[in-house]
């Protein structure tokens, strides 16, 4: 492995692409982190169900993270709570109800469609419609602006001459 890296490094240096080598070397620690040991789950199926549900929930400390991704203390507690309720046989829906009763709809990472979020859900489509309307109106206006001027007798003669010339070339 080392040898491989060294030969690769020599070739790269020859090509004067030290930069690429640096990028490759710098990314080694990332692979190391990705392989870090996961805490042993008592029940892998339950753990998977818990993680799936927490992907739909917001961490209330780092609000742009899901509960599944967050390492905040409170997120860990909440995941523990979800795990426990699942063990007690609660359905996903019941658990979500439990959490929204305490933390409000804000904890849902996917905002539900209700009157307070209509603008959020349908606003972009309104903008799209408005844009299409403006576009059509603009195109229509432009079409009206373009006045077709008929060719004068001189121009017609010239055009016919040109057309004949190209026809002659094509047959030749």
């Amino acid at each position: 492995m080392n040898l491989l890296v060294l030969t690769a490094a020599r070739d790269l240096l020859k090509m004067k692409s030290c930069f690429l080598l640096l990028v490759i070397l710098a990314s080694f620690p990332l692979f190391a982190i990705a392989k870090e040991a996961q805490p042993l789950a008592v029940d892998p199926a339950l753990e998977e169900r818990m993680m799936k549900l927490s992907k739909e929930l917001r961490c209330l400390v780092c609000q742009n993270e899901t509960l599944a991704d967050s390492r905040a203390d409170l997120a860990e507690d909440l995941r523990g709570q979800i795990r426990e309720q699942m063990k007690a046989g609660k359905t996903d829906k019941e658990i979500i109800e439990y959490l929204t009763a305490r933390y409000g709809k804000f904890i849902l990472y996917n905002p539900p469609v209700d009157p307070t979020t209509y603008l959020l859900w349908f606003g972009p489509f309104l903008l799209l419609l408005a844009g299409l309307f403006l576009l059509f109106r603009y195109v229509k206006q432009r079409r009206e602006l373009i006045v077709e001027v008929p060719l004068s007798a001189d121009e017609r003669l010239r055009a016919e001459g040109l057309l004949k010339a190209t026809e002659g070339k094509e047959t030749a």
Binding site: D73, D77, A101, R102, Y103
Partner: protein, 174 residues
């Protein structure tokens, strides 16, 4: 003329929205528990762990539930003001000692003084989740029938006390 006016109006509208967005604190999640019954619990008292505290014991009282921890710098900062409230006798403060260690919590109380009538030990944070706590300090105002009436996220301060909590306390005590 309208060529310049329309983009200008749109731009100004954007500026207004962004300005409103800047002025809002995204951590102020509105509590879903206002005007709902305070969730039940049975927690050991901090000083006498054999004594179990339940919210039923506070029935008939208007009281503050203050969530704190010795590990929380903002709570330390809030502490002197809590002592001031306790001294004024305006409203009793009960503490929820959240995710703390007993020795640490007791040490903080003996160092900074103790504004609490008593403290519930919620060392595993379970009751805090029931109350929808997102961080410390947070304070609930609970009425005589055990209904949550107000929640302050962050430190209590004279302004919040004067404008929000004390008027409510007076009204609820009537």
């Amino acid at each position: 003329m309208s060529r310049f006016v329309i983009p200008l109006v749109l731009f100004l509208a954007l500026v207004v929205f962004l300005a409103i967005g800047l002025g809002r604190d995204p951590h102020l999640v509105p509590s879903a528990l206002i005007n709902k019954a305070a969730p039940d619990f049975a927690l050991p008292e901090l000083r006498e762990p054999t004594r179990i505290i339940t919210p039923q014991q506070m029935r008939g009282k208007v009281w503050l539930l203050n969530v704190w921890g010795s590990w929380c710098p903002a709570c330390r900062e809030e502490h002197p003001y809590l002592i001031e409230i306790a001294r004024s006798g305006a409203v009793p403060i009960y503490g929820l000692s959240w995710k703390d260690k007993r020795e640490d919590a007791l040490a903080t109380l003996s160092e900074l003084g103790d504004p609490y009538v008593l403290n519930m030990s919620d060392f595993d944070g379970r009751v805090a989740i029931d109350y929808g706590i997102t961080g410390a300090p947070e304070t609930y105002l609970i009425d005589k029938n055990g209904i949550i009436r107000y929640k302050e996220v962050g430190q209590l301060n004279p302004e919040v006390m004067k404008q929000k909590i004390l008027p409510l306390v007076q009204e609820l005590n009537r």
